[in-house]
């Protein structure tokens, strides 16, 4: 197995493309066929995957209920106001 990769920049871009769901079938097949022979690419793949999954699972927050209430209230008031004003201007 190779312990250094002469195309590491290109490989990392390909790995990210694959994980982002943007790679073609041929690109995926090429990577799968070569991954097991290159340690930096294997490690790079594992790292990119862990970054992506950890960002998704650990950095998400819910919207506070009070904002949702405020928005609904503002829209409701806006709707009432416009409903009152429309007949006056038509």
């Amino acid at each position: 197995m190779k312990t250094s990769c002469e195309h590491h920049q290109d490989c990392m871009q390909l790995i990210q493309k694959i994980l982002d769901g943007e790679a073609s079938v041929a690109e995926k097949e090429y990577f799968i066929a070569n991954k097991d022979q290159c340690l930096p690419c294997q490690k790079g793949y594992e790292l990119e995957l862990s970054l992506k999954t950890n960002l998704k699972s650990k950095c998400q927050l819910s919207c506070p209920e009070q904002i949702i209430h405020k928005i609904r209230l503002k829209l409701f008031l806006l709707l009432i106001l416009i409903s009152i004003l429309i007949p006056l201007f038509c």
């Binding site: 920049q9 927050l61 919207c63």
Partner: protein, 197 residues
């Protein structure tokens, strides 16, 4: 009589707009708040930004086609709102931000990413807490933060990100690559200070 019909139609269309809003836009409130908070790094500003975005979306609801991707439409409004109002309020882009974006546009990718992130392992990232990863993300220049959130947290396609950010798809690719390289550098530094590995 004609006027009465016209009034009823307008009121009906307002009610319909409210229905579209509830059905198409409300399911994306968590994602919008999350995006707003990561951009502003301030809870009050994030709340204001989400509210402004919703009111703007409601105002321009006629230009939204029901059944199309509401989330991308909302994110585009939120991003524009942030750039036009909140970014000016908080601060201008940092010098680092300009440098990175300029390099990103000119395509000088080669010198940016260390040949191999030997110091950062997948296991280290798995062990990190959400707050630690969030802190590293928050320390990125806003354009880089934005593209990572859109891609990794919200799972937009490159094409959708290009539309939301108003940039060519090639710039999406290069900016994303550079953003991730910088995020890894931040995580390496962070993991060293915290004694990971």
């Amino acid at each position: 009589m004609l006027m009465e019909v016209e009034v009823k139609d307008k009121i009906h269309s307002l009610g319909n707009a409210r229905y579209v809003f509830e059905k198409e836009f409300m399911p994306h409130m968590d994602a919008m708040y999350n995006f707003a908070l990561k951009l502003t790094a301030d809870e009050d500003d994030a709340q204001d930004l989400v509210q402004d975005t919703c009111l703007k979306a409601y105002r321009f609801i006629n230009s939204f086609e029901p059944g199309t991707y509401a989330k991308a439409w909302l994110f585009r409004i939120l991003k524009n709102n942030f750039i036009n109002d909140y970014r000016k309020k908080s601060r201008g882009p940092s010098k680092v931000e300009f440098e990175w974006v300029e390099q990103s546009i000119s395509g000088e990718d080669e010198a940016t990413e260390p040949a191999y992130f030997a110091d950062l392992q997948a296991e280290t990232v798995n062990d990190m807490l959400g707050d630690e990863i969030t802190a590293a993300l928050q320390s990125l220049p806003v354009d880089f933060r934005m593209i990572i959130i859109l891609c990794d947290l919200e799972e937009f396609s490159y094409e959708e990100m290009a539309k939301i950010l108003d940039i060519p798809i090639g710039t999406v690719r290069s900016r994303l690559h550079r953003a991730r390289a910088l995020l890894k550098t931040k995580l390496v530094n962070y993991s060293k200070t915290k004694g990971y590995n």
